[in-house]
Amino acid sequence: MTFRVLDPSSEVDTAQGQRAPRLASLEGKTIGFISNGKEGTKGFFGHLDRMLRQDFGAADVVLRVKSNYSAPADDPIVAELPRWDAVISGIGD
């Protein structure tokens, strides 16, 4: 007996974002951090901030912290994205 059975998946093609062009250098760039605010992020992003400025010549490093670490970034943070040259989003669990 042949079974004809239905597909239980969403059958939706997940929209694939395109990778932004890679930066040739971080020299003089503004780098944004989106932190989930968990305890482990403080040391991690603090260290990364120093690295980017001292070792890679970043002009500015901007830290933004989500209001809810289990939800997407708040709208005001997302609105800032175009002003940054690159973004680092860390879990920091």
Binding site: M1, T2, F3, R4, V5, L6, D7, P8, S9, S10, E11, V12, E39, N68, S70, A71, P72, D93
Partner: protein
């Protein structure tokens, strides 16, 4: 009825199982083949067209239709009469305050707890007594499993993918129970959350594993409830300090002592609200001194108000046991109660 899901063919029942397992469409257990006939029977019972939009998962903007819910419900072993509960539960889970994406993706590894109230408990022959947190009856097992299959297949919540749970817990297979309304003088959980008694309802909560307590050496309500409060305090010390929807299950034996003393659910919630709180400095006693800092004297309550405690009458008739079910991320994810097949705040149709 026009179903639009892709149709797959398999030569026999074993081939169906292998097909679904190989595609990552199961929870590891065998499934009931979701034929068009079985799926249509669910949709007809709930009077839903296949394309009916049940909701949209707000983070990934994934639409959830009645047809996809029905397919997964059939796979889980649901009968058509179970399906309206699945629809109501998923609708509730898609409310923003439930924080579904966070709950299903979190390393915290919570499950979705479902509690059934109202006439549907009897219509579905649920058993809220013996082994209520285990495999107590067909309906609650199948409905709870259906939710997990929906998460797996419709929202791609698979371990190591969207699901980043460090441990998870057995409730992630099925975590559904009915409340013992017929052997209790208390208001039902749904009634305490503004659903009339004659309306069937489901409450969903992002929930950790149950923590069992025992106190069969007293009939004094405050002593009984102190044991529940202590278990909540233990969870706050060992797991998470954040307040939110804790649930407690009170089986018959302890419930009778409370009832004999005239304690209502509200009395229970107010007592536990006062007793279930810890100082931050207590974290130092359980190896978490590094995060006490200068806030050691700050007091953290387990709930922001007594209303956040979900008091549930359920469990077998004998034994001085009870259970505390802690929230996943209590201050961010809130329990949602939804009427089944009824709209309580709908106005009359326009003239």
């Amino acid at each position: 009825m026009q179903l639009t899901s892709k149709v797959h063919e398999a030569s026999d029942i074993a081939a169906v199982q292998e097909l679904y397992h190989s595609r990552g469409w199961t929870d590891g257990l065998p499934i009931v083949p979701p034929t068009a006939e079985a799926v249509e029977a669910c949709l007809e019972w709930a009077m839903l067209p296949p394309e009916q939009l049940i909701g949209v998962e707000p983070v990934r903007e994934r639409a959830v239709t009645a047809e996809k819910l029905a397919i997964n419900a059939v796979m889980a072993g649901c009968l058509p009469m179970h399906f309206p509960v699945v629809v109501a539960a998923v609708t509730a889970m898609l409310q923003p305050e439930f924080l579904l994406h966070g709950a299903t993706a979190s390393t915290g590894g919570c499950a979705v707890l479902l509690v059934l109230n109202g006439p549907i408990r009897l219509e579905l022959a649920t058993d809220p007594t013996f082994n209520v947190l285990g495999a107590s009856d067909r309906a609650t097992m199948a409905i709870g499993r259906a939710l997990r299959l929906v998460l797996i297949n419709v929202l791609d919540v698979r371990p190591g993918g969207i699901d980043r749970s460090t441990l998870g817990h057995p409730g992630k297979i099925s975590y559904c129970l009915a409340e013992d309304e017929d052997d209790s003088n208390w208001l039902s959980l749904a009634e305490t959350r503004d659903i009339p008694k004659e309306i069937s309802a489901v409450t969903v909560m992002t929930a950790g594993a149950p923590r069992q307590i025992m106190n069969e050496w007293t009939t004094e309500p405050k002593e009984i409830l102190e044991t529940f409060a202590a278990e909540i305090r233990a969870n706050m010390r060992h797991y998470s300090i954040w307040p939110g929807n804790y649930a407690i299950l009170v089986p018959k034996q302890l419930r009778e002592h409370l009832d004999n003393a005239g304690w209502s659910k509200r009395d229970v919630a107010e007592f536990i609200f006062e007793r279930a709180r810890i100082h931050r400095h207590e974290w130092a006693e359980v190896g978490k001194g590094a995060v006490v800092r200068d806030r050691g004297d700050t007091v953290y309550p387990a709930m922001e108000s007594p209303d956040q405690l979900l008091v549930i009458a359920a469990g077998g008739p004998a034994g001085g046991f009870g259970a505390v079910i802690p929230p996943w991320l209590g201050h961010k994810s809130h329990a949602v109660t939804m009427a089944i097949g009824a709209c309580l705040d709908c106005g009359p149709p326009p003239a």
